[in-house]
Amino acid sequence: MAAMSGAASFFDEAVDEQGRTRAHYRPVQEWFDRLTLEQVRALEEQRNESFRRQGITFTVYGGDEGTERTWPMDLFPRVIDAEEWAMLERGLIQRVTALNRFLDDIYTGEQAILHDGIVPRRLITSCTGFEREAMNVAVPLGARCLVAGIDLVRDADGAYRVLEDNLRSPSGISYVIENRAAMTKLLPAAFADLAVRSVDHYGRSLLRALRSIAPPACGDDPTVVVLTPGIFNSAYFEHAFLARSMGVELVEGRDLVVDDHVVAMRTTRGLERVDVIYRRIDDHFLDPVVFNPTSTLGVPGLMAAARAGTVSLANSVGNGVGDDKAVYAYVPDMIRYYLGEAPIIPNADTYLLWEDDQRAEVLERLDQLVVKPVAESGGYGIVIGPKATDAELAEARDKILDDPRNWIAQEVVNLSRLPAWAGDHFAPRHIDLRPFVLSGEQTEVIPGGLTRVALREGSLIVNSSQGGGSKDTWVLGSPDQSNQASQS
C-alpha cells in the first residue's frame, strides 16, 4: 500500500511531470477553475435532478430487493486528443478483428490456430466459455462479436494497455450517450471552443451492424429485436434505450416462440417472424433446451434455429472463449497470427497460473500482484495483493493451487488519475476506459467510450456496483473529423 501511494507512480491525465496542465485539457481546466464552490454544487444538484427525473438508474443487487440508484456521473470530463484517439482506434479495430477471426476459426473454421500450436488446445477445451453448442453455427460476415467492450487502462508511463476484453454482453454504451446529453445541458459553454466528436449515432450504427448479419434468405428488410431478461435486470435501462434508439421491438423470452426452426414474436396480430436478435441474456439462459433447463428467461429451440441459419444472434453464443482471461494472454499472438501485424495496444503483464514456472513465481509474489478468476466480469472475485489481508492471500493461494486453470495474475497497473469532485473540491481519482467496437460490414469504434472512475480516494475499483462512477469522454477531432461525424 505504502509503495503504491507514492504520487510519482501514477500517470496524471491532465497534468504533466512539471505540474503544468496538458494542452488538450487546458480549456476544460480553465473552465473549471472559474467555477465557485456554489456553482459546482448547483451543477451537481441539477445533474442529480435530471437523472432522477429521467430514471437514469442502475440496480444494485443485494441489500433489500435490489435498489435503483441514479447514475453517478462526475462533472470533470475526460479528454482524448485526436492523435491519441487515432492510435487507439487502429489498435481496437485490430484487436477486435483478430478476436472475431479467432472465434470463427474455433467454432466454424479448421481451428488452424490450435493446429499451428499458437494457442494450446487444452486451454480452449478447458475454457468454461467454450460452448460445444456453438460448434459449426455460422454467423454472416464472421461477426461473432458484433459489439465488443475493450477495457483500457494507462500504466505509470501513460501507455495504454488492454486490461480485459468483453465479448459477450458488454454494457455501458447507454451511459456514454446519456452522459454526453447531460454534459451538453450542464456545461454548454465548456463545449464552445472544442470540437468534441459526437456519440449520438450509436443506435444507427448498431442497427446497421445488426442488419448486416441477417440471414441472407430473409430479404432486404430484416426484422431486428433486442432480447432482454426484463425490467428487473440491472441493465434494463440500457436495453430499452437501445431498442428505442434503433426503433425496434424490445422483447422478452416469453414474447418469442420457435417452431420448425423459425423464430417469431407474439404480436397483437398474431406471430411475426424475427430475423436478427440482439440478445442481452447470457448464453446459459438463452435456450432451456440446450442450456440451463430451469431458465424461464430464454426461448426453447432458439439454438436450433440459429444453427439452421433462420435467425442470427448477436453476440454469438460461445464468445466467452475469447474473453477468458487466460485466453486473453494470447490475443497479441492472435493479432500476429491472423493479421500479420504487431499489436498496437499491448496487454497488461499477465501470468498464466497453469504454467508451473509462472505459478511458482506468482505464489512467491502474491502480495504484489492482482489475481483474477478467468471467467468473471464486473470486478467480482479479484484479489489485489498489496491491499489484501494475510487471510485473503492465503485463501487466494489455496484457490489457485486447487484449480490453476481458473486464475491469472497480473502486475498491479497503477491506473491513471484525473480530477473528480470529492464533496468540496476536485481531487485526483483513478480511471479506466471502455470503448465500444462494432463489427459487421465494417468495424467501427464509437469515439471515446465509458470512462469509469473510482470515486473513493486511493481505490482502484471502478465498477459502478462497487462505488465507481463515470465521466463523459471527449474525443477531440480536427475540424474535418467532427464534420464527418455529424454527417455520418
Binding site: 429521467q54 434505450f241 425496434v248 416469453r254 407474439r266
Partner: protein, 339 residues
Amino acid sequence: MLARHAEDMFWAGRYLERAEDTARMVRATLLSTVAEPPAQAIDRMQNLIRTLRLEVATPIEDVESLAEDLTPSPPMLRSAAGLGIDVQAAATRLVASSGLAGSVVFCIGRARENFRSLRDQIPSELWEQINQFYLRLRQADFAATLEHDPFQTLDFIQVSCQTLNGVIETSMARGQGYRFLVLGQNLERALMTCRLVQSRYPEMDGSSYDEMALTLRSVSALEAYQRAYQSSPLAADVARFLLLDDSFPRSVLYCLRLSESQVEALAQDAKPPPLRRLGQLRSGLEYADFTILVADLPNQLAMLESGVRETAELVGDYFFRNAEVFDLHSQAISPGAST
C-alpha cells in the same frame, strides 16, 4: 406491436384514468363536506367509497389492512369524536395509501411500471413526466402535505394527470400503442362514470343543488351540464347528461364511441368479439328510450357496467392472448409486416 406491449399500454391507460378520476372524485367530495354536518360528510365519503368499489378494499400483502375502515359502515368513522378529521383521513387513504389497490398512488405506481416496460415504445417526455409525478407522490412528506392542504395537493394531482394526457396527445404517434392506451382510458372512464351515476342517482332528490353539483363535479361536468341543461336540478337530467351526452368526453356514450373506433382501427377482422360487444352496448345506449331506461336505472346501469367489463376481457382475449391460436406454418408469419 408485441402483444405484451399492447397489454401494458392498455393497462397504463386504465390506471392513469383511474388515478385521475379518483383524485377528482375525492376532491369534489371533500369540497362538498366542508360546510356539512359530520354525519352528512360521512355519508358522502361512504358513497364515494361505494362508487370506487372499495367497500371491501384489497390490501396489498404485508401492508396494514385498510378494509376495516373502508367498509360500508366503518366503525372508525362512526365512533370517533372528531368526525370531520376522519373523513379527511379516509380521503388521505384513498389518495396516498400505497397499500390500497385503487388509491391514486397505487394506480400511478402501476401505470409507471407499465410505462417502464414500454420505455422503448413511448416518448421520453412521457416517461419523464410520469416518473417525476410518481417520485413526488412517493416522497415521505406527501401524505402529510395532502392532509395539511388537501385541495392544493389534489389540484396538483389533477394537473399532473392532465399534463400526462397532454404529452400523450401531443407527442405520441397514432399507432397501435396510442390506440390501446386510449382504449384502456375510455373503458375505465366509462366504468367510472357509470358507477358514479349508480351511487349518486338516489342521492339527488331534485331539490338540493349541492347533491347535484357534487355528482357533476366528480367528473368535471358541472359547467358543461349547466350550459346544456340550464342547471336543471332534476336527477334524471343529470343522469341523461352523464350517460348519453353526445359531446361531453366523460359521458358513457362518448367513451363507448371512442373505444369502439379504437377497436375498429386495431382489429384485423371485420367484426371481432370485442367490437361486437362494444357495438351492442353503444347502440343499446344510443337508441334507448330514456324514460324506460331511467325507470329501471339500477338494473340498466348494472348491465352496462358488466358489459364494459366484459368488453375489457374480450379485448384481452382477442389482442393480447391470440398468438396461441395461430398456426406458425400458415400465412400468419409475414416477414417484414409492419407492427
